[in-house]
C-alpha cells in the first residue's frame, strides 16, 4: 500500500485507482475503496452506488468538474490526474470543485505530483497528494506544502486577497 499526504499528514493510501486501460482487462474488486475514470462512472453509476465501500472519480485533463456536477454530493473523493506536472488544467478544476460547486470531500492530486507544485495545488483546493513514488514524500511534505508565509491572492482557504487581510500580515511581521 502506497503513501500519500492527506490534510498535512503522511498516511497509507486506502484507495485503489483504476484507469480505463485496467478496467478493460479486469473488473473492479468487490470490496475496498476505488477510484474510477469519469466515463466508467457515468456508465456504471447505478451499480457503483450500490457498493458498500466508497467510490471516487478521477478527472483527466479535458474532463471538467461540470461533467460531474450533479454527482458530487454522492462522491467522497474526486481525483485529478496530472499526466505531466506542466499540464496546469487541474488547478482550475480543483478551484472550481471547491469554489463553484462547494465540494467538501477529498480532492486528490494523482500522477506526476511533485514537491515543487504542492504549494500551488494546496491553495487551489487539493487536500490529498499522491506524491510520485520515486520521490521523498517526507521532504515534499516538509518543504513543499508551505514554502511561503505570504500570498497575494485569494484562495480556497481564504477568499480574501491580500488587500482585505493586510492587517493580519502586518501584525505577524511585528512579532
Amino acid at each position: 500500500m502506497g503513501k500519500l499526504i492527506l490534510d498535512g499528514e503522511i498516511v497509507d493510501n486506502q484507495w485503489q485507482r483504476f484507469d480505463a486501460g485496467q478496467l478493460e482487462q479486469e473488473s473492479l474488486p468487490d470490496s475496498g475503496a476505488v477510484i474510477v475514470p469519469l466515463a466508467y462512472w457515468k456508465e456504471h453509476k447505478a451499480a457503483l452506488l450500490e457498493r458498500s465501500d466508497p467510490v471516487g472519480v478521477c478527472l483527466e485533463p479535458g474532463e471538467e468538474p461540470v461533467d460531474l456536477a450533479e454527482d458530487l454530493a454522492a462522491l467522497p473523493l474526486v481525483a485529478i490526474h496530472f499526466p505531466a506536472f506542466k499540464d496546469g488544467r487541474g488547478y482550475s478544476y480543483a478551484r472550481e470543485l471547491r469554489t463553484r460547486y462547494g465540494f467538501t470531500g477529498e480532492v486528490r492530486a494523482v500522477g506526476d505530483v511533485l514537491q515543487d507544485q504542492l504549494f500551488y495545488m494546496h491553495r487551489v483546493g487539493f487536500n490529498a497528494f499522491e506524491v510520485r513514488a520515486d520521490r521523498d514524500i517526507e521532504q515534499a511534505l516538509n518543504n513543499g506544502l508551505r514554502p511561503f508565509t505570504v500570498t497575494y491572492q485569494a484562495d480556497v482557504h481564504d477568499n480574501r486577497p491580500i488587500y482585505r487581510r493586510r492587517h493580519e500580515l502586518e501584525e505577524v511581521s511585528d512579532v
Binding site: P61, E64, F85, K86, D87, G88, R89, Y91, S92, Y93, R95, R100, L114, D116, Q117, F119, Y120, M121, R123, V124, D136, N143, P147, F148, T149, V150, T151, Y152, Q153, A154, D155, N159, R160, P161, I162, Y163, R164, R166, L169, E170, V172, S173
Partner: protein, 549 residues
Amino acid sequence: MYVYQDYDQRLLQERVAQYRDQTRRYLAGELSEDEFLALRLQNGLYIQRYAPMLRISVPYGMLASQQLRTLANVVREYDKGFCHVSTRQNIQLNWPELEDVPDILEQLAGVQMHAIQTSGNCIRNITTDELAGVNPKEIEDPRPWCEIIRQWATFNPEFAYLPRKFKIAVNSVPDADPALIGVHDIGVQVLHDSNGETGFQVWAGGGLGRTPMTGAVIGEFVPWQDLLPYLESILRVYNKYGNRDNKFKARIKILVKALGPEKYRELVEAEFAELKGGAMTLTEEEVARIKNCFQTPEYRSGVDSTALQSALDENRAFNRWFHTNTRAHKQAGYRAVVLTLKKTGRVPGDVSDEQLDAIADLADRYSFGEARNTHQQNMVLADVAADQLFEVWQQLDALGFATPNLGLITDIVACPGGDLCSLANAKSIPIAEGIQRRFDDMDFVHDLGPLDVNISGCMNACGHHHIGHIGILGVDKKGKEFYQITLGGRGDKLSHIGEKMGPSFEADEVTGVIDKIIRLYVDNRLENEPFIDTYERIGMDPFKEAVYG
C-alpha cells in the same frame, strides 16, 4: 515606485530560499532536467548557447538608483561587466553561473528585485508606457493598475502552469499605444467614463511570434473594481481551453481566433458572473495605497528656462539632442530625457557596470533617484528640470548616451540573436551594426525622420520585428543565415503587423536592401512625410520593385 511592505520583502526572501533549495536538489540529482527546467524558467533562468541567461524583473522598467548600483555589483561580480535591456523593459545577464543564481537573487532581494516569472508558461512581468506618470498625454498614471495586476499575478496558484507564456500590458494614453497593448496576450486600456470614473477596455489575443496578430476587444468597459475578477476570468478560460499539444498553437491568440472573440467573451462573462462583486473586488483603500506609492516627486515650481533657451540657440549639438532625445513632460519646466544605448559599435541595449553606476549617480543628482528602461532598449531619466538639461547632456555625452538618434534609423531595436541566444536562426547584432555604419551621417539620419527598425534573430520576435516600420527577421535556410524583411509595421499608433516583402536575403545583402528601401522613400516622400506615412500612401509594390526589380 512601489514601496515594499515587510511582507512583500518576506515573500522575496522566502522565494530565494525556495530557489536555493531547488538549485541544490537539481545539482544533487534529485530533480530531473525537465523538472528543473520549468522551475528555473519561472525564475528567469535560460540555458543559452554559451552560458545561462538570467532575466531580472524590472516592473514598468523602473529602477531606483540603489537598484542600479546593486545591478552594477552583480554584473561585476557574476557576469562579464555587461547587462542587457530587453524589449520588455527587463534586465538580462548573459553569463551567470547556474550555481551562483541563488546568491545573485539574494543580493537582488536586498533591493526589492527578483526574477520571479520572467520566463516560463506563466504570467510575465507587466509592462506599460515608459513615460508613465510624466507623459502629458496620459489620462492617468497607469502604474498603480500595473502594480495591482503584478501582485495578483505573482505566484498566482492557478496560473503557474499555463499552456504558454502570458504577457499583460497597460496603456493610459488615448489614440496611441506606447505600451503595445494591441500585441499582448491581454492589453488593458485605461478609460474614463462620462462621470470620470476609471474603467478598462480589455483586449485579448494579441501577440507577435510565429503567428502575429492584434488582439480583439473582449471587455468594452470593465469598472476598476472588477479589474482582477475580469482578468482572472480571461485566464481561467485560457488555462482550461488553451492548446497544450502544440507549443506553436498554445498562445491565447490562437484560442481567441479559433473560438472567435464573441465566444471567448461569452466564456469569460460566464466566469466573471460568478466572481463579480466577490472578495476579489478592489477596494478604494487598496487603490489609494498603491497610488500613493507612485506619487509625483517634489518638482520645483518656476524653473527658469532662460539659460536653456540661450544654450539651445548657441549650441547646435545640444539643440539637436534636445529635440531628438528629450520628451515633453506633464510638469512645466521639466523634460523626460532618454539615454540612447544605441551608439554605433555597441550592442543595442547593452550597459556596463560602470555605466549603471554612472546612471545611478545621474538619477540621484537630476531625476529624483530613478531611471527607467524602455521597450526600445534605451533608458530614461524621467524628471529632469529644464535648467539642468545642459549639464545632463554634457554628462550623457561623456558617457556615450547622448547619440541624438532616438526614434531614428540608427536607434535599432535588436534581440541578442545568434551571438548569444540558443533559439536564434541568425545573428541580429552585426546586422544592426551594419545598418548603423551605413547610415553614419547624422544630418542624413535626421533628414530621414522617424523610423523604427527592429531585428529579431528568430520568429519568437523578441526584437519586435513585426511592428518595426522596417522589420528584419533571421531565418534559417538549409543551415544558412537569411533575413526576411517586412515593411509597414507600427508600434506607435495602434500596433500594426508589417507585411513581408518577398524572398529573404543573405547577411551581407541586408544593408544594401535597406539602402534601396530608404532611397525609394526619399525619392517619393512628400514634404515632411515620415517613412511610415509614405509607405502607407504608396504601398508595398514600389518598394518591392526597387529591391527585387
